[in-house]
Symmetry: C2
Subunit: 144 residues, 2 copies
């Protein structure tokens, strides 16, 4: 997590007349700290507990809502029955390769894909806001 992230978060709170509480900072840091983990609400709770921090699931969900609205965090569907959350980098949209054997999630950003999507937007005269792209299959390790 960069200082810049923290400032963006602080700005967001200030702009919306929201309070910068200790609990919010904890949750925010937990997500930013594990940029490759794609945490879910429960996992965040567990990680905070392991650090001796007591936070309620309700507050985690409420804070996740704020973070998603702020644009700092993205909600992802990885094919499970609950949402996962990931740091929304400054980079453009990206997709996920999800291994159905080991559950590993590999992120990728590909300009060819992005170009093709932009093309589709034009073709249907559809303005793209964001996209969600998940590829399910099996990774190299699991196929050996």
């Amino acid at each position: 997590m960069t200082t810049l992230d923290s400032e963006r978060f602080a700005d967001f709170l200030r702009t919306n007349a929201l309070k910068a509480t200790a609990t919010r900072r904890l949750i925010f840091r937990e997500i930013m700290a594990s940029s490759s983990a794609h945490l879910d609400a429960d996992e965040i709770l567990l990680r905070l507990r392991k650090k001796g921090k007591s936070v309620s699931l309700a507050t985690i969900y409420r804070t996740l809502g704020l973070l998603v609205r702020s644009g700092l965090v993205g909600r992802v569907d990885l094919g499970e029955n609950h949402a996962h959350y990931e740091r929304e980098g400054p980079r453009a949209g990206h997709g996920h390769l999800i291994c159905l054997s080991c559950g590993r999630v590999i992120e990728f950003a590909d300009s060819a894909v992005q170009g093709a999507l932009a093309q589709i937007g034009e073709e249907f005269s559809f303005r793209l806001d964001k996209f969600s792209l998940q590829i399910f299959g099996s990774c190299a390790d699991c196929r050996r």
Copy 2:
């Protein structure tokens, strides 16, 4: 729905020692009939009720499970908090353009996208089984 679909369904049931019940046929037909509707479990229930058919939600979910396993139906996440189901045509994978204003869902299949995805698979030495691609934004009508 084609006769071929019905036969594929019948075959699937026979092969797996499952019974071809009236209820299963009803549910199956309802999904196949509305190829562009992307129904959810509740919508299927309502449509069957409107036709005077009484089916339980439990059976709808159980049958949807079968249909997905058979490959005749696909489960899609359209950004709502529940699953939608669509006829899994014989065509290759496709994506959805989802209008955030009116909720309209436009399907598209694009070879450029598919090519780019195959490329990514190779790059990461990942075997692609299927993909899920949703684009959120606003359609031409809603932008007027």
